[in-house]
Structures are given as C-alpha cells and as structure tokens.
C-alpha cells in the first residue's frame, strides 16, 4: 500500500529505471517537518496565551476610566496611569520624529549613494553592532550626554532626553530595515530609470522608494514598538516615577520631567502591596493595547502602500 496521496490512477511504467523516486520516504519526511513546524508554532502560541491569560485575569478587573484618567497615588485604588500613558505617547512622537528621517536618510545614503569601500564597510559593520548593544548602555550615554552635558537644551531627564535616547537606540534598526527594503528592489528598475535620463535622486524618489516604503514603514513601526516597551534606558537617564501633571503641549513641555508606561509598571510591581500588583497587570494590558495598535497601524500602512503601487 502506497502512502503517496496522488496514487490513483497509477501512471504507466517509466521507460527509464535509473531513478528510484522513493516517494514514500520523501512524503514521510515532508510530514515529519510539517509536524515539527506545527509544534514550534504551538509552543510559541501556548506560552503567549498563558502570559495573556495571567495578565488579563490579574488586571482586567482594575481597568476602568478612572484608572486611565488618574495620576499616580499612594493609595492603590486611587492610582492611575494618565501621566505615564501621556508620557509614553509624547516620548513616542519625539522618538519617531527624530529617528525616522535620520534613519531612513542614512539608510538611503549607505545603500544608494555611498561607494562600496573600506570606510563604508566599517560603518556598515558598526551599525550592525550598534543594533546589538544592550539598551542600558544607551541609557548611560543619554544620562551623560543628553541629560547632563546638554542640560540647557534638554532640561535634564526630560521628554526630549528620553526621546533622543530612544531614537539613538532604534536608529540602527531603522537603518538596517531601510537598507534591506532598498536592496530588495531589483537593480533592473534602477537601470531602466537611468536609461531614460533620470538622475540618481529621481530614480530613488520616483522608482525605488515607492517600492521600498512599505518595508521601511514596517521596520520603523516595529522599532518604535520596541522603544515603547523599553524601561532600562529611561530609568538610567533618571526619568521619575511619580509625575502628577501632564507636560504642556509646547516646546517647554519637551523639557519637563516625565514618566512612561514601562516605568510606572516597574514601579508598581516593586511595591509590597498586592493591590499595586493588580495595578501593574492593568498597566501591562494598557501597554499591550498601545503596542497592538501600533503593529496594526504598521500592517494597515503597508497594505495601503502596497495597494497604492501598481
């Protein structure tokens, strides 16, 4: 009995007997690897589900409008994460505004303009290395350079300092994502553009970028999601945990102290009272909603741009 799923009807005997197809064995190997990949997916999902269940069962009851619209407090029942949520959103905007143009610009330069020589290869290797540097190192850099040396501009451990530190942190990721997306655009397209007398920038702007932008955006938003969840560098630069005001929406607002969701959560988790642990779980749910919203935006943006190009 053959396990070949396409067994009936049988083909007439082959003319050449130089081949031993061993279909049974090959199909078995197929199913074996299918099973392995299924297990891998299942394990991943299971762990994720358990985490989600744990957090939601702990924190869902605490979620309320009061929780989202209140400032932190010493009494767990009155505490909320308004300043942390607003701080995170502020931070995200500053980070995005700083890192997107610099990262994409650097990516375009390195991929499309820079000659391939020893110098640019050194830069390339170093950018790869920077992406792997632990985030606390960026925090130390931010503390010294942005928070201390540049204090007159940044105002100390402020939103601006935090945003600049996080922007540095995700810059290598954005540069690498940009370069990968540009590299995926076939060279024949560039040649076609040059052959009709386009300059380098015209080729990039009109032919290459429209193809690469979905990938660039996806990479950027995933990098930003990473920035939103970062705790260590923010604590290192000296972000506060107890902020009972909202930064004003102005340039001075950039220089005010701030707190962010991961810091608030970290702070609540490290308190002894169990009520604060419930608050932390609820905070994690809010953080996850923010991340989920961002990732959905990434997918939607990508689909929109992919539909836009023909």
């Amino acid at each position: 009995m053959s396990s070949n799923p396409y067994s009936a009807p049988q083909l007439p005997d082959a003319h050449s007997s130089d081949f031993q197809p061993a279909l049974n064995k090959r199909y078995k190997l197929d199913r074996f690897f299918e099973f392995l990949t299924w297990i891998a997916t299942f394990v991943g999902l299971l762990v994720l589900m358990m985490l989600l269940y744990d957090v939601i069962s702990d924190g869902a009851s605490r979620l309320s409008w009061q929780f989202i619209s209140s400032f932190p407090s010493r009494r767990p029942a009155a505490a909320g994460l308004l300043s942390a949520l607003v701080g995170s959103i502020w931070l995200l905007c500053v980070t995005a505004i700083l890192s997107f143009p610099i990262g994409v610009g650097a990516g375009i330069f390195l991929e499309e303009f820079a000659p391939d020589n020893f110098f640019t290869q050194i830069i390339e290797i170093n950018i790869g290395n920077l992406a792997a540097v632990p985030s606390i190192i960026y925090g130390l850099l931010g503390l010294q350079v942005f928070s201390r040396i540049m204090r007159p501009i940044t105002g100390g451990p402020s939103v601006l300092t935090g945003g600049m530190t996080l922007a540095l942190l995700i810059l290598p990721i954005i540069i690498v994502a940009t370069r990968e997306s540009l590299r995926a655009v076939p060279n024949s397209l560039r040649q076609g553009g040059f052959a009709v007398g386009a300059t380098r920038w015209q080729v990039i702007r009109n032919l290459i970028l429209p193809q690469a932008i979905p990938g660039i955006l996806t990479g950027t938003i995933l990098a930003l999601s990473r920035a939103v969840g970062e705790t260590a560098p923010l604590i290192t630069i000296g972000a506060l945990t107890f902020i009972a005001f909202l930064p004003p929406l102005s340039l001075e607002g950039l220089q005010t102290d701030f707190t962010a969701l991961p810091i608030q959560i970290y702070n609540w988790v490290s308190r002894p009272q169990p009520e604060f642990h419930t608050n932390a779980a609820a905070g994690i749910i809010v953080l996850m909603v923010v991340l989920l919203t961002m990732n959905t935006t990434a997918v939607l943006l990508r689909n929109k741009f992919q539909k836009g190009r023909i």
Binding site: P115, S188, R190, G192, A195, V196, G197, L207
Partner: protein
C-alpha cells in the same frame, strides 16, 4: 529639440552623414581587475542599424553599455580608451552622464517596465527631462511607433507589469523612443517576442533609422542579416587566469559578414558551425 538646462559638450547641430555617430578607440572594459573585453576599435555610422553578434558571454552587452555610460553604475566596472559620440568623448569630465543617457537610449535584454501605469511608463522619462509638448500625444505616438498602441489603448491606467513579456518589451521600446534620443541601443530586444511582434519590431527599426542610429545585440543570425546594415562579430578567448576575454573579431557591412567574411571564425559562426 528641447532646451537643455545642463550645458554639455554635446552639440545640437545636424549630424554630418560622413561622421560616425559612435566611435570606439581602443576600448577595454574591466569588471574589478578582470578584463572582460579588450581593445575594441569600431565606427558606428549614423542612421544605420549595426548588429552585434557573438557567443554568449563574449561581452556584447558590456560593449553596448559603454555607449550610454551605464557601465558607470556597475560597482567596479572600468572603461579605458575613448568612446566618441559625434566627435565628443563621452568619458570626458565635462560630459554629463545623465544627458548622455537621454540622448542615447537603451532597451534591455530583460523587459523592465517601471511599476507604474502604462501611461506613466512613457511619460516618466519625458517629464523628468522637462518635456514641454503635449504629453498625451507623446504617449500615444510612442506607443503607436512601438506597435503596441492597439493592445493597450483601453488600459493606459493599468500597471505596466500586467502586460505579457513581449508587450512589456515593446512598452520599454516605446519608453526609449519617448525621450527622443538620437541613438537607441537594443540588447536582444526580441528575445522575449513571438515571430509576429519580432517582425513588427524589425519593421519599426527600419522606420526608426531615418531618425535614429540603432545598435542591436542579437543571437538571431537571420535577424542580424535581415535588419542590419553593418555587423560586428565578437568572440571570447580563454585567458591564463581561467576567465574569458572578449574581443572584436570582424566588423564589416552585413552582406560581407554573412556571405564573404574575411575570418574563418566568422564564417563558422554565421553558418552555425561554431565550436
């Protein structure tokens, strides 16, 4: 002729018929340190069709790319010797490669339409080069001349990539014509076409040579003998390093190459008895 904002040494006067449109003097081309083609001397007459033939990998495309400086875009590619376009050295410092490429158009071996609408595929090159005339008219004319208008006139907004391979190639030819170059370089433009479209392209080339100078690379001996006025036969020899080095074997009127070649090599190749 449109005004050129960017001054170059290329003059705009009518070509003298005696003067070759393109001229190569001792041109050698390297990829990195590996030589790909050595010492080519070649005069390409204006308003005629010149065919490049020769076995695969002997460097025909490489030589062709020299004429519009697209070799500049390949990292490590190096050209030595002189290439003249109507008497002006294309590789002189004062010549702007972007302007060279508008004046010397190119159709590639593999069709590479832009991922834009059919209309935009034609209009793009004209627009970036500051075309002042009626764009709709230019698009229609270019598509008509490339023998593809009837097939696409009702779907100009569709993607250029939605066309069949042969249609894409004709779209690329239309795109090359649209910027009104003086020379059109064609790298096996018919290798993806059916016999009927091939015939149309060949008729088109006959028509175009009134206005343009055409250089075509082809593997099709019949095509070379049918359409071209002059034929250059390239071949490659093994080098000591184990690579292959291309060179020009013979260059003459097409009739002579196909009926009375001077080299035995050429005779064997055109009669299909090569190697």
């Amino acid at each position: 002729m449109t005004n050129i904002a960017n001054p170059t040494m290329i003059s705009d006067s009518q070509p003298h018929l005696q003067e070759p449109a393109l001229k190569m003097e001792g041109v050698s081309i390297f990829y990195g340190s590996t030589p790909a083609i050595r010492e080519v001397y070649l005069d390409i007459p204006a308003h005629q069709i010149t065919a490049f033939i020769g076995p695969s990998g002997c460097g025909k495309s490489t030589v062709l790319r020299c004429f519009n400086r697209t070799n500049d875009l390949i990292p490590g590619a190096k050209v030595t010797g002189n290439v003249f376009f109507r008497g002006v050295n294309l590789y002189s410092k004062k010549v702007d490669p972007v302007e060279v490429r508008r004046r010397i158009g190119m159709v590639f071996q593999k069709p590479n339409p832009f991922p834009k609408s059919i209309y935009e595929n034609i209009a793009f090159g004209a627009r970036i080069n500051g075309y002042q005339g009626d764009m709709d008219q230019l698009v229609e004319n270019s598509l008509r001349r490339a023998a593809i208008w009837d097939e696409v006139k009702d779907k100009l907004k569709d993607s250029g990539l939605s066309l069949s391979g042969g249609q894409q190639q004709r779209l690329c030819i239309a795109r090359a014509i649209a910027i009104q170059p003086e020379v059109i370089l064609m790298d096996e433009p018919c290798s993806a076409l059916d016999p009927i479209s091939t015939l149309r392209i060949e008729e088109l080339m006959q028509e175009l040579k009134e206005q343009y100078t055409i250089v075509i690379v082809t593997h099709n001996m019949q095509q070379a003998s049918r359409v071209s006025d002059k034929t250059a036969f390239f071949n490659a020899e093994a080098t000591e390093q184990g690579g292959k080095l291309g060179f020009l074997v013979e260059y003459d009127d097409t009739v002579n190459i196909f009926t009375n070649p001077k080299q035995d090599f050429t005779r064997d190749y055109v009669s299909g008895r090569f190697g």
